[in-house]
């Protein structure tokens, strides 16, 4: 038995060392310059299905103490839970920016990824970037939302659709508006989606969707709101209701 244990340990060690050597892969390019701070340019708070690539790349910028961009600084990305970066490290371009494509892990929820760079004295500067992975329910919610909700609740227009947000008297809450939506319980949200604004003393501009959407669809929509909320939604201690 001992020999087998010993053998497997040796084998495991050999494999880990082999793997780690493999992971190091191509030699890392040494940084040509150092910055003092990292700034997010674009690509945070994106939502994509579990395990899939985000639509937009994440772009960060390295600045020096004076706030001017630094080209050739080394930026590394890291994230837990199976997040994959392509590439996960590299030097900033002439505009001081570094771009990476991000694929999220297999579990729905919030993913916090960290971009870091080192200044000349070796001290790290880092920023945290949040991305959201949508599970089945949230994906369904997003589909429902794309058909029925975003035109009013998203103030941004895209080439494919024009936002109706500014045409309303009552300002529809953005789905990412956690400050407001987190305070509402699932039942509150279900009520306002199902019965419309007028029935709850709010603006009649929010139509009732109770007859349009099925209960699972409304639940899915609420699931989406919870997933997108910023600050993140923290459910109050739920107690499973026994039969």
């Amino acid at each position: 038995m001992n020999r087998a244990w010993l053998g497997s340990i040796v084998l495991a060690l050999a494999m880990t060392s082999a793997c780690s050597r493999h992971a190091a892969g191509p030699a890392e390019a040494p940084p040509k310059a150092f910055g003092a701070a990292l700034v997010l340019v674009s690509g945070d708070k994106q939502a994509a299905g579990v395990g899939s690539a985000l639509d937009q790349p994440v772009v960060v910028q390295v600045n020096d103490e004076k706030g001017t961009t630094v080209a050739g600084a080394l930026v590394r990305f890291a994230g837990a839970g199976g997040v994959i970066f392509d590439p996960d490290r590299g030097l900033t371009g002439s505009d001081g920016q570094f771009t990476t494509n991000v694929s999220l892990g297999g579990v729905h929820g919030l993913y916090r990824i960290v971009a870091a760079t080192k200044n000349s004295s070796g001290k790290a500067a880092e920023i945290r970037i949040d991305e959201i992975a949508l599970g089945y329910q949230e994906t369904l919610g997003k589909q429902v939302s794309d058909i029925h909700c975003v035109r009013c609740h998203d103030s941004e227009s895209t080439p494919e659709r024009v936002s109706n947000h500014d045409n309303l008297i009552a300002q529809a809450h953005s789905f990412t508006d956690g400050a407001i939506l987190n305070a509402m319980s699932d039942a509150d949200l279900a009520a306002i989606i199902g019965h419309g604004g007028a029935a709850l003393g709010k603006s009649a501009e929010m139509p009732p969707y109770g007859n349009t959407l099925t209960k699972p669809e409304i639940d899915a929509l609420i699931g989406l709101l919870r997933a997108l909320a910023d600050p993140p939604y923290r459910p109050q201690g739920i107690f499973y209701a026994g039969r």
Binding site: N211, P216, G242
Partner: protein
Amino acid sequence: MSLPKRVRSAWQYLFGNSASAFGTLSGVLLILLAVVPAKDYFREWLGYQKQYLRLIHGRGDATSLSRRFQGGLQQIWMPELGVVDRCTTCHTALKEASLADVKTQPFRPHPAIPHKLTEFGCVICHRGQGAATTVEEAHNSTKSWEEPILPARYLEASCGQCHLDRLMGTPRLNQGRDALAQYGCVRCHTIKSPDGVTMTGSDAPPPLQHIADKTTREWIAAWLKNPQAYAGSATMPNFQLADDETRDISAFLIAQSTPYQTHKGTEPAPAASQDTAALQEGTSLYGESFCSSCHAMQNTAGMLVGGNLGPELTRAGSKVKTEWLADWLRDPKTYDPDTRMPHYRLDAKEVGLLIGFLSSKSDSDFLGNTQLAAATPAQVEHGKTLVIERGCANCHAINGVKKPDNFAPELTLVGSRPLERILFAPGVPHTLADYIGAKIRQPRSFGNALKMPQYTLAPQQVDALATALLAQTQLAQTLPVSLRIPGRAPSHYRPAGKAGQLIDDMRCFSCHKIDGRGGDMAPELTWEGSSVERAWLVSFLKNPNTLRPSLIRRMPKFNVTDAEASTLADYIMTVYQTPAFDQETLDSSRFTPADVEHGKELFYGKYACQSCHIVDPNKDKGYIGPTLTQVGARLTASWIFHWLKNSQSLRPGTQEPVWNMNDEDARAVTAFLVAQKNAPRKEAAQK
């Protein structure tokens, strides 16, 4: 005593004679045998269950959690599905919503899904080995079971095993299935649904029988070399042909081409107008005809603007011959009887303007270095061989080359393909999903001699395609038929008579869906006759003004004659009637002004319809629904009434919510809307 001596004497003591050897060995054997129950006691899953009990210990609801916890091996057994799942032995908290904060496996609760655990178990969706009770065997590919857990990104593939139709919660699967049809995958590979329906392509590869009249050999060669260099949005893949191969294929394609029945004989070809003013006019005409509803074109910023139903026209001037273009614009059917392009009834001047505009959309770089000498018969012959080898006839109609049968491997069961039968390219992880992904991404990395061409796909599209292919499993074929949610049977609806000819002529089905057939770009017309007033319909057919200001894709103007509009309107009013209600239910002449006033209150107050619709262009701003300024002239009172009560039943999937109004409210709002018969105001429409 020295050590060897000690050892020897100990040996002598323990094994010195047969009796002591017997005693010693029996003792050792007893100890070794005691390992067997010990090993059983330290089973992996038992460890996880103990870990779970520690985890819930001290939580607020520990009592109810531990009451619901069941120790020992758990099993979900469904003989009719072939399910023996022991996943819940370790995944103890799948149903415990209160553990939502627990992120470590195996104790995470399962996110909400429409199916119950006890209905399907786990592996039907997640794959892996349900009978296994060790982490390694349950989740990974092993010698005895090569079905690893399906990575989350392909999980929708499992939905596709039963759900053969589009499913709202599975956008990736839908995208993948669309892509299989749209990129012509199914033209070479046979893919059958479990219900026996063979998937068909939704792209429209042009016939090449008359190609010589349409374009030049140089263009063909350059296009074959790299279709995406001509149009970034082209769905034709890159066959990675050598220069002499493109030369020979183009030679063959020109050689096999026969002249088509042109208008040349009957009408003089309109002259292309090239001056700036004409170009300006052509640009406007292109815009007014809403060509961009189907055709995309790069704008000055390099962004692609327009639909994807027809080919991209950014470099059209470098491709087509003007005589052909003139014919095409006059009536596309003369060249391609199956085209999706409608017959626009343009006059000679308009054709000239459009030719001028499109000819200006050329790119000298594209054909810059393609110089071809006259083709030799050997080259033509070689070209034909290549055309047959590469399977061009799978998609394109070519004279003298038949569409091959079983050109590429059938993919009906690709999701269950045994790994043993797969030859992996170097560097590709040995899983089916990775294989499919790699094969789609870089087919030639699996061997240069392979026929499969190189596609230009975004990573999301590759994942979607892999998802759709992973749904093609053996399990999908063998699951009980009662679980199957069949796909929509393809409709072969073909309206008859004169109106039918017109509908065909204007290719209404390219955008509109009627009776299950047709595109989804424009509103469904199945019950159009119940919905609209005839007078409005006639005027709309003659001059379609836009109803939804926020839409980019709009109905083009086909320049129909009065007689044609009348024929079509008659047909629509007679045939496309819903059985859901009777036109006579509501008599709009009996609406009183008080009704109208009440309806207006409801419209602006209780129902706040103005958030999406515009009735008074000076006041209302709603952008989502159609403008209602003249809705009274457009829609019938009964339709509006029933629409307000239950819009989804009249047009499933419409954005209009189901208001479920009571009869009085619905009647009043109808009265108000019917009263809106103002002529459309230009400034309102443009806003």
